[in-house]
């Protein structure tokens, strides 16, 4: 089915809009967004983030996802060769569709976070049959 090769890409470090009070780097996760009849689904690559370290907020039509990594496991290790940097993830999207805030669900599997934002009733697609 898949025959093409995955090419390595450098992680995109976030240009800082505001200064942060916590130390550490922030990256912008690679994201897929698709929309079905009933929901907007956002999938983000957040490797190394535990499911309890993910914070999802939807406020005034702005979806903010933040994932914090646990760098404690790297502390006793001595780096000898490095190709990528490790850091937290944060990304913000303006959601243009009306969302049913109470129905938002999220799952994490193998470092991919999937957020499902169900559309509010008034935003659902209505099929109109031609009489």
């Amino acid at each position: 089915m898949v025959s093409q090769e995955v090419t390595p890409r450098a992680k995109r470090e976030l240009a800082q809009a505001e200064e942060r009070t916590e130390a550490g780097k922030f990256f912008s996760p690679y994201t897929d967004i698709h929309e079905t009849d009933r929901a907007v689904v956002v999938s983000m690559e957040v490797p190394g983030v535990d499911k309890n370290a993910i914070d999802i907020q939807l406020e005034k039509g702005v979806l903010t996802v933040k994932g914090t990594i646990d760098s404690a496991k790297y502390e006793p290790l001595r780096p000898i060769y490095s190709e990528y940097n490790v850091g937290n993830f944060v990304r913000t999207f303006a959601v243009s569709t009306k969302i049913d805030g109470g129905g938002i669900s999220a799952t994490v599997a193998d470092g991919v976070l999937t957020v499902e934002l169900p559309k509010a009733k008034e935003a659902l697609t209505r099929r109109i049959a031609v009489g």
Partner: protein, 141 residues
């Protein structure tokens, strides 16, 4: 008290990029036998063990295969992204496909004692140095 370097990775990456421009002449020969391929790796030393870490978000555990022989490690597998039917795509940044990477470590490792852990899309390989590669203390008679 542990004094922490502000950002060991950035320091190391900077040093490495400087090194790579020198290595680009192929004067020393690369340390990795499959350079520039996916996945990107970080290699650490932990006592006598090598620790190889790679980020593989979206790769299922069963689609991942690791082979160790002598001083080389091969990580290969495939990454698939399930696309739901009848959905309109607004943004597609994630990439799927096959990958195969081989790295050469500075020393032989004990293939039988290699431990692999895959959690939250991060693969961690712990490769103990082979007995023959460990330094030996010689007592003077």
């Amino acid at each position: 008290m542990v004094i922490r370097v502000k950002d060991p990775f950035a320091t190391l990456l900077g040093l490495q990029h400087a090194m790579e421009s020198v290595m680009g002449s192929d004067w020393f020969g690369g340390r990795t036998s499959g350079p520039g391929a996916f996945p990107l790796l970080n290699v650490f030393n932990d006592g006598d063990d090598f620790v190889v870490v790679a980020e593989l978000p979206g790769v299922k555990k069963e689609d991942l295969e690791i082979e160790v022989r002598g001083d080389t490690v091969r990580i290969h597998g495939k990454k698939t992204i399930a696309q739901p039917e009848s959905a309109s795509v607004h943004r597609r940044e994630r990439a799927a496909g096959e990958f195969d990477r081989t790295v050469t470590l500075p020393d032989d490792v004990d293939a039988a004692k290699v431990a692999a852990e895959y959690r939250d899309g991060v693969l961690t390989l712990r490769l103990p140095r082979a007995e023959s590669a460990k330094p030996r203390t010689v007592t003077i008679n």
